[in-house]
Amino acid sequence: MTVTTSALEEAVRVSEAVENEYVKRWKEGGGQVVGYSCVTTPPEIIDAAGLLPYRIRALGNPNTEIADAHLARFNCSFCRSCLQLGLDGTFDFLDGLIETNGCDHLRGMFENWQYVKPVAFFHYVKVPHQTTPEAMEYYTEELRLFAKALEAGFGTKVTRPKLKKAIERQEAVRSKLREVYAMREGDAPSFTGTEALSLFLLASAMPADDYLALIDRVIDERSGTGITGYRARLMLCGAATDELELIGEIEDVGGLVVTDSLCYGARAFWKPIRTDLEPIEALAELYLKEMLCPRMYEDFPRRRDFVIDEVKRAGVDGVMVMHNKFCDVHGVDNVQLRLSLEKEGIPVLQLEKEYGSKADIGRIRTRVQAFLERIGDRS
């Protein structure tokens, strides 16, 4: 008997593996893979160097035994979880690693990774926390140095035409993700939050051309379909959340996640790249000036306005703001966000959680159920 698998089922299945079959195929074909973690790293530059950009993830891995010998319990469990996979060999397929100063925990994660088990190629992209003219100039130069480092490390050339082509490819990926998100806006969304996260995760873990072929099939398959019977439409905001299981739990109790401003989510693709600038300047503009991350210390009003606009655009009933324990940047920003949203009359649930912790799930389910009780019932 032949079992036919839908494109979405295939995408979800592939997204659940760290080293997925597309990465394996890429490596078997002689390709090299460069890992990065922070949303301020332009994958276009890695792509233009002929390398596969791969965004580091932990997929809810709760085991941090090896990492805990290096990072401390006061470091965020997402970074500990990623370090664990770095040190236990899961990420051995990476030929290079790109550090950014996304946050203090992330910096510690990279320093320990390189100290304990160095990856052959390592480069640090230093990202300012402001968008002053001086900061923009500095970051633009950082991106040039990044390209040069890849050239030197991998014996390749990042030419202007290659960079333009890579920008087109990655913009096509981002555009498809925007399309997926748009399909969640209506009364009967075409994707659950869990499915949307799977599609997002896959976009930064396989070659862009393969992804575009797959996502087109997924979009075709889901066009005209809709999910009904949910209790409330939710928006997720906050820290690094690549936990499919967590979103599954939220949706399991009746909350449908219809949009987000997450690091592993809308924050990475919400804005189209400018085409009227030189490629490297356009990347600097997109990845720093337009960045909606609380690591930027002067931009809270812009982050708040984005969330409020999204609430209106996607017909959100309530916003969940989450941060992993010990995450300062989101922990504080979420307080400001909660206060601002409450002022606008938007219901908010603020949650502090441990990344990937099964023990935390029961508590989170209870909090979400109570929140859903509070904001009403669409079903």
């Binding site: 006061f74 925990h105 910096r107 926390h129």
Partner: protein, 469 residues
């Protein structure tokens, strides 16, 4: 604004006013207080205040303590007077050069961590109520109490309020940067950022210089005054004099046993973070040098022998000055430095406004925490400083205080601990606690851990491997 239960109800209950009320009492103390008078003063105080004063008025440190507290009193008076006379009060973090603000005629610096340290050590209730208020707003409990206690007091809306915030922690500390952003937004006051790029190349240095000059020009515009060369020169000359005294103290600390009382480490950076560039800080530093010299000549040390020479790799604990600093030296454990002492001042050329501002800029780039955690690699820069200082001071062990909020140091302490042992054979004790919240780990427990480490590891190793000079 709704005031939460337990929050201060009047401005007299804010942290600033309560600290200044305590300092008002100290102001009336004569510089040459006798032992009997000292006991009398302590007996009049509520328990939390008495505990700290007992430490500060210990005969070993009394003269310097009085000079220090009078300097701090003057610093706080200036902030209060500034409010009354229309000058700007600029709230700054500990890793910022206060001399830049002193160079303005119409602005004064107020350092949040210094206020917190005074509150945590010297007011009844140790500042917990302000922390609780911030927690009541939803601020996470993993934030840094050093800034959140003072800023929590400001957030109540019932305390002395700064007019603007300078945040110089961008690049070195997320926790501080975020609370500065939050407070500025919450209170609707301007925030000026000085970012240290995590880049120690020439390009990174130049970028910091550009950021610094942008800050100067933003402050000039905000304060409505251009820094005058003449006033800047006065300030810089005082900085240079204080720097000389700082290095004299370093030299004195190299003696075995260490003639510089442990508490002076705290006083030195107290000067650095508040009145550096002012004659009051110079005077306080002079008293510390004089006292240390006198003790060296007299061969004074509070224990029969100096058993351990300790480099505190990050900050100390400020919840019980007597219980940490004085207790340690009474056991024969010298507190040679902590990271806040590591600001390595260079003499600043006074030729022109630009040479002076460049000098202040370089001082800002090399400030504690900025220089280690704001470096290209946190662990490499921190190890370099720790190894250098332990060698210079002949330290035979390290202690990491394990302040809960220091995520960046916690994230690389395992590397630092290993490298310190590999490179200079110095073992490191990792404690856990909150440096400004006494409710987290009691001092008695910290003392127990330190004592056990010294007796079981450091002293035994010293006998076998590495005698003190």
């Amino acid at each position: 604004m709704t005031i939460l239960a337990g929050a201060p109800r009047t401005s007299r209950e804010g942290l600033f006013e309560r600290v200044i009320a305590m300092l008002d009492m100290v102001r009336s103390i004569p510089d040459d207080l006798s032992d009997e008078e000292s006991e009398g003063v302590i007996a009049l105080m509520p328990p939390d205040v008495a505990e700290t004063l007992e430490g500060f008025l210990n005969p070993r440190v009394r003269r310097a303590s009085i000079a220090y507290l009078k300097m701090i009193g003057k610093w706080m008076d200036e902030a209060r007077e500034a409010k009354e006379t229309g000058k700007k009060v600029i709230l700054v973090p500990f890793n910022f050069v206060p001399e830049l603000i002193h160079a303005f005629e119409n602005a004064v610096p107020l350092t949040s961590e210094v206020l917190t340290s005074l509150g945590a050590g010297a007011i009844e209730g140790k500042g917990h109520r302000y922390w609780d208020y911030a927690m009541g707003l939803g601020i996470p409990d993993h934030l840094c109490s050093s800034s959140t206690i003072e800023l929590g007091s400001m957030l109540t809306g019932q305390d002395f309020e700064a007019d603007a915030i300078v945040s110089s922690t961008a690049g070195a500390c997320d926790a501080n940067s975020k609370i500065h952003e939050f407070v500025a937004h919450y209170l609707g006051i301007p925030q000026f950022i000085l970012e240290k790029p995590v880049d120690d190349t020439e390009r990174g240095r130049e970028q910091f210089r550009r950021n610094f000059y942008r800050l100067v020009s933003n402050l000039e515009e905000y304060i409505g005054e251009e820094i005058s060369e003449e006033r800047l020169r006065d300030v810089v000359e005082n900085c240079n004099r204080a720097a000389e005294l700082h290095y004299q103290l370093w030299e004195l600390k190299k003696n075995v046993p260490c003639p510089v009382p442990n508490l002076f480490s705290f006083f030195v950076y107290g000067c650095r973070f508040t009145m550096w560039g002012r004659p009051e800080a110079v005077r306080c530093m002079e008293v510390m040098v004089e006292e240390s010299r006198r003790r060296l000549e007299a061969g004074e040390y509070p224990a029969p022998r100096e058993l351990a020479r300790v480099g505190w790799l990050y900050v100390g604990y400020y919840i019980d000055y007597n219980g940490l600093f004085n207790w340690m030296e009474e056991q024969g454990y010298s507190y040679l430095f902590d990271v806040l002492d590591l600001f390595f001042p260079d003499p600043i050329p006074t030729d022109s406004r630009e040479t002076m501002l460049d000098g202040v800029c370089e001082a800002a780039r090399r400030f504690p925490m900025t220089r280690q955690m704001g470096a290209d690699s946190m662990s490499v820069a921190w190890i370099d400083d720790a190894v250098h200082m332990c060698r210079e001071m002949n330290a035979n062990c390290g202690i990491y205080c394990g302040h809960h909020a220091c995520k960046q140091t916690w994230s690389v302490i395992s590397i630092v601990q290993k490298e310190l042992m590999d490179r200079i054979g110095a073992p490191t004790l990792c404690l856990q606690g909150d440096a400004w919240l006494s409710g987290m780990t009691p001092m008695s427990r910290l003392q127990g851990d330190i004592d056990e480490f010294m007796k079981n590891v450091v002293i035994k190793r010293r006998r076998v491997h590495r005698p003190l000079r």
